[in-house]
Amino acid sequence: MATSVELGATSVTKKALMATTGVVLTAYVVLHLAGNLLYFAGPEALDAYGALLHRNAGVLWSARAVLFASFCIHVVLALDLSMRRQVARPISYGRYERAASSLGARTMLWTGLVLLGFVVYHVLHLTLGLFHPAYAPGRVYSNVSVAFSSVVPTVIYVVSMIALGLHVSHGALAMTQSLGLTLRRERLRALRRLSVALALIVAVGLAAIPITALALALTRGR
């Protein structure tokens, strides 16, 4: 066997990078969910949590930098790899049936694009306060309540969380294999169920907040 090994990023390396950034983003989503659920504990708890996050600017901006870098790498590699599909199969099938793919796997690119748009909107909306009728920095609970008192943002958020659920349902499974971690069959089966469970928890948990806020606003307005 010749010893020279060519360098350069193969798709396996790129997928491993996508998986690593995926792990970071998934961990963030779970932490974000845990923090956001304090919405149900009332205004003081949520505002205190918001203040806690802003206590140390260094930690906050380091975390934001890691997240931003992970997000960019994830998106750029996803677009790069998906454009290679056309190169790998220039003539598409007249008839092609996907027998085994889960709904999450089939829609990965589309849910990813929805999430890309959503993240931009979400940061502008609830971090910077654009498109927000009465944004007040630090008053997290009232910002959330006001933001979701109208139907359109609530619908955008809920649809995006459905996309997030689908994306995580396949992503959480696929990232373990891209990193070469699940070498045993029975573990793979358990992991399939786990990733669906994680996706459900994340999507339902995060969608519950705008839905509750809208419901509260509607009952109060009546």
Binding site: T3, V5, A16
Partner: protein, 265 residues
């Protein structure tokens, strides 16, 4: 039994192709799909037309020569079966079957349903072997292998290189094929010393052949006539990443000329 075929006809690599419809009333449920193609071809030859070109050899699912898409599924609707093992009893009377070649950049079309799969041979040539001295066969019990390991290696070794995994993959990835050989040899003591280099070289060879990336959708596992498990891809990723991280292949032989003055550091 009435079966209609919509077959992809293309005279050669650069020529335009299209589906052509052939209807047969001579089909029997006990006939294999390839036998139906034989019957249709006899009729075409009698009429002086060009017969449908398709690959087949053993016609018992062990050689890996046959293979095309049947109604959008590689090797047709059956689990663990090659195209030659698909019988007309799997279809209903009056069905229309769309027969299309496996499509991938790395599988250039030769004619009709025949494609060139030598890209797979080049992946094997890059590292799908063990380097051992030839000579007498060694004593069989010299190296013992755990039963589980032997089974895993054998599951992966069942690959017949038909290319259905590539054909069924939404990204035209050869990950199942490459992973199968890496798993087969890497699990056994004979293949262990070259495991890291094999993974590097075979993955890079697959990339050079313009196969796509793996998204773990699982289509390949379902299409595979030998039911090779999806874990071989995880094993491939594992071995490849481990080899990259450990810096495999960087250590070159050191050459120091004897009798030259001592080096001073």
């Amino acid at each position: 039994m009435r079966i209609a075929l919509e077959v992809w006809r293309q005279r050669g690599p650069g020529e335009p192709g299209r589906f052509v419809r052939y209807e047969s009333t001579q089909a029997s449920p006990d006939m294999s799909l390839l036998e139906l193609l034989d019957v249709v071809n006899e009729g075409l030859v009698q009429k002086g037309e060009e017969p449908i070109a398709f690959d087949s050899d053993c016609r018992e699912g062990i050689c890996g020569t046959c293979g095309f898409m049947v109604n959008g599924l590689a090797h047709g609707p059956l689990q663990g079966a090659a195209t030659c093992q698909v019988y007309l009893r799997s279809f209903r009377d009056g069905d229309t079957l769309f027969l299309e070649p496996f499509r991938a950049k790395a599988f250039p079309l030769i004619k009709d349903l025949v494609i060139n799969r030598s890209a797979l041979d080049r992946i094997i040539a890059a590292g799908g072997y063990v380097s051992v001295n030839t000579g007498n066969a060694p004593e069989a019990n010299t190296s013992t292998i755990r039963k589980d390991r032997a089974e895993e290696a054998m599951d992966a070794a069942a690959c017949i290189a038909c290319g259905a995994c590539v054909a069924a993959c939404p990204n035209a990835s050869a990950a199942l094929f490459t992973g199968a050989k890496i798993t087969h040899l890497g699990k056994l003591p004979e293949g262990e010393p070259e495991r890291a280099r094999r993974a590097l070289r075979m993955v890079q060879a697959a990339a050079a052949e313009a196969f796509g990336h793996c998204t773990f959708a699982g289509e390949c596992e379902t299409a595979c006539p030998k039911s090779i498990p999806l874990q071989v891809i995880t094993q491939m990723n594992h071995d490849y990443l481990a080899a990259r991280l450990s810096g495999e292949g960087r250590a070159q032989p050191r050459h120091i000329e004897p009798g030259t003055p001592k080096r001073r550091r």
